[in-house]
C-alpha cells in the first residue's frame, strides 16, 4: 500500500468522555470501523473533553466519535466543542452515538454535532457517513483512488 493511499484512509478517534464506563457500543463501533478499513484510536473510558480535543489534533483525525450512555451527552458535547474551538480545531466533525433522547437532537446539532446515531444504528451506516464527510473534505469524487473500504456493501 503506498503512502498516498495510506493517508486517505479515514482516521477516527472513538472516545468515551466523562465517567460512563459502558464501552460495549464504543468498542463494537471502533472495531467495525477498523474492519471497514479505517484507522481507529479508541481512547478508553473516562476521558476529559480537553484530552479528547488534544488527542484529536495530535493524531490528526478526520472525525471524532463520542459514545454516551448515561445521559451526560449535552454538557459533554458542549465542553468538547469549546475545547476544539480553543485549539482552532472546530473543523473536526464530531459524531455521537448511544442513548440519546430525540428531543436532545436539536440542542446537540446546535452545539455542533454533525450526526447522531441512535441505539441500534448499523456500523455500516456510521462507516458510510464518515466516508461521506471525509470525501467531502478531500473534495474528491470516487475517482480519487479511495481504497476497497469505499465499497458501500463492504460489511464489517
Amino acid at each position: 500500500m503506498d503512502m498516498k493511499e495510506n493517508r486517505q484512509r479515514a482516521r477516527v478517534l472513538v472516545a468515551k468522555i466523562g465517567l460512563d464506563g459502558h464501552n460495549r457500543g464504543a468498542q463494537v463501533v471502533a472495531n467495525g470501523l477498523r474492519e471497514a478499513g479505517m484507522e481507529v484510536i479508541y481512547t478508553g473510558i473516562r476521558q476529559t473533553p480537553s484530552s479528547v480535543a488534544r488527542a484529536a489534533i495530535q493524531e490528526d483525525v478526520d472525525v471524532i466519535g463520542i459514545s454516551s450512555m448515561v445521559g451526560a451527552h449535552l454538557p459533554i458535547v458542549k465542553k468538547l466543542m469549546k475545547e476544539l474551538e480553543a485549539l482552532n480545531a472546530s473543523d473536526i466533525p464530531v459524531i455521537l452515538g448511544g442513548i440519546i433522547p430525540e428531543e436532545d437532537y436539536g440542542p446537540l446539532r446546535e452545539a455542533g454535532v454533525s450526526q447522531i446515531f441512535p441505539p441500534g444504528a448499523a456500523v455500516k451506516e456510521i462507516v458510510k457517513y464518515i466516508e461521506s464527510i471525509v470525501n467531502a473534505k478531500a473534495g474528491s469524487g470516487p475517482a480519487a483512488g479511495r481504497g476497497h473500504h469505499a465499497d458501500p456493501d463492504h460489511q464489517c
Partner: protein, 552 residues
Amino acid sequence: MDREEWKNLLSLDYKNRGRRKPVYHSESKIELADCYDPEELMKTGFDPEKDLGLPGTFPFTRGIHPAMYRADFWIMGQYAGFGNPEATNERFKYLLSKGQTALALALDLPTQLGIESDEELADGEVGKAGVAINSLKDMEEIFDGIPLNKPRQIFTTANAIGPIMLVLFLALGEKQGIDPGQYSVVLQNDILKEYVARGAYIFPPSPSLKFSIDAVEYCTCHYPRFKPIVICGSHMRQGGATAVQEVAFTLSNAEAYIDEAVGRGLDIDDFAPFIECQLSVPMNLFEEVAKYRAFRRMWARMLKERYQAKKPESMKCFIRVYTTGYTMTAQQPLNNIVRVTVEALGAILGGAQSLSCNAMDEVVSIPTQEAARVALMTQHILANETGIADVADPLGGSYYIESLTNEIEKRALSLMEQIRQKGGAQRAIEEGFYQMLSRKAAGEYQQEIEKGERIIVGLNKFREEKEKIKIDCFKVEEGVQGKVIEKLHNLKAQRNPDDVERCLGRLEQEVRLGKNSIPALRDCALAYATIGEMCRVLGKIWGFYHEGAKWI
C-alpha cells in the same frame, strides 16, 4: 417408529418444506439437534441421580428450595434512584406503596467512583445514572420515613466503594435506631467485573479485590444477615459475553473472592451462604433456563469439591436476575415490554430468587413512572396469572433442557480451566483475556444483525420505515447538581472538621497496617466524612487505576 425411520421422515420433511437455517445454534453457539430425545440426552453423559436430584437438594440443579415458588414468589425488585436524595425518597415510597418488596438504590457515577459532587469530573453527571450521595447526610434523606427494616432487602450497586456503602448503611441504622440484625443490606461489591465491563473502578485490581473482601470479612464476623457481595455475570454479559462465558467468568471471579476470604482464615461455611450471584437473561429462552440450572449445579459442586463446604446452605446459590438492556430496541419501544416478559419468563423458569425487570424506555433514558410500573406489573402478571410458579423446575427432565444444561456446564468448566491456567481471574482480567473474548462475541452479535442473520424486530426487519424514535423521557429535575453541591458545602461547613480529620487519619493508618478497613471507615461515615474524602485516603495508599488509549 424407530429413530432411523423418523430420521428418514425428517429428511423428507426438510426436502419438501425446506429449512429456515442450514444450522441451528443456541446463543452460545451450541449446535442444536433436530429434536431432543433420550439418545441425544445420553450423548451428554446425563446421569439423573448425579446431575439432577430433586429441588432443594444437591446439586441444586432444580432450584435451591424444595418448594420453590409454591412457598413464596421470588423477590420483585426494580432498580431505582435518580437525582437528589429527596426525589429518590419519593420514588422509594411510591414503589413500596405499590407492593414492591425490596429496594434497589442506584448511585450516580461520581458517587460510584468516589468523586465529590462539586469536583470538575462530576460536572454534568450528578444525579444522572442514579442518586448522588456524598455522605451519611444524603442517606438520612433518602431513607427519611423508610426504616431500614421496612423493605425485605435493600440492594445497592456500590462496587469500587462497596465497603463504604456498607458503613453508610451501618451508620444510618445507628441513626434510625434499628439494630443491624433487623435489616438486610445487599452490596454488589464486585470489583473484578468492573475491569471487564462497566468500568466503575477506582483503584488497581489487587487492592480492590482485598478491599471488597474487607466487607465480606466484617459482615461474616458481625452482621450475618447482610449480603456483603453479589458476584455478577450480568454486566459482562451485557458487555458482550455469551451465556457460557458469563457462567465461566462469574464462577472464576467467585473463586478469586473465595480464595481471598479463605486465605484470611474465614470458614467457607460462615460466609458462602451469604454470597449471591447476579446473572443476565437475554432472549434465547431455553439456553437461559439451562444456564441458570447449570450455574447452580456448578456452584454447588465447586463449593463442595473445591472448598470442602459442609453446610448445604453454602452450596445453594441465590441468583439475582436483571433483564437485559442490549436486547431492547429504541425502535418501536413498546415491543420491549414483550421482550422483558420473555426474559423474565426465562429467569423464573430457571429458578431465580430475585428479579428486576427493565422498563421499556430504559433504552433511551431512566424510566418514567408509568414504564417502571409496567415493568413491575409484568412480574405480577407472570407470578399470578400464568401458573408458571406452581411447580418447581417445570422444565426439568426435558431432553432439550437437560442436554443444554450439561453442555453449558461442560463448556464453562473448560473455559474456567483456561482461566486457572492464566493464574486465576484477577490475572486473566489484568491481561485482558475476558475482555478479548467478550469484545469478540459483541462484534459477532453486531455483525449477525447487520448481515440479517439475526433478526431483531423493528431494527433490521419489520421496521416502521417512517418511524421517528420518540419516547417520553423522564428528565432529571434541572438544577439537581446545584442543590447537591450546595448541600455538600453546607455539610462541610457544619460538621466537626477535627473529627473528620482524625477519622480519616485513622483510616490511613489502619489500612497501611493491613487491618480490615471497615471499623475505621464506619467512624469516618459517622463523622460525616464524604465518600470522596475516604477514597482519596485509600487512593493515596493504593494508587488509582487508568485505562490507556490505543490504536486498534
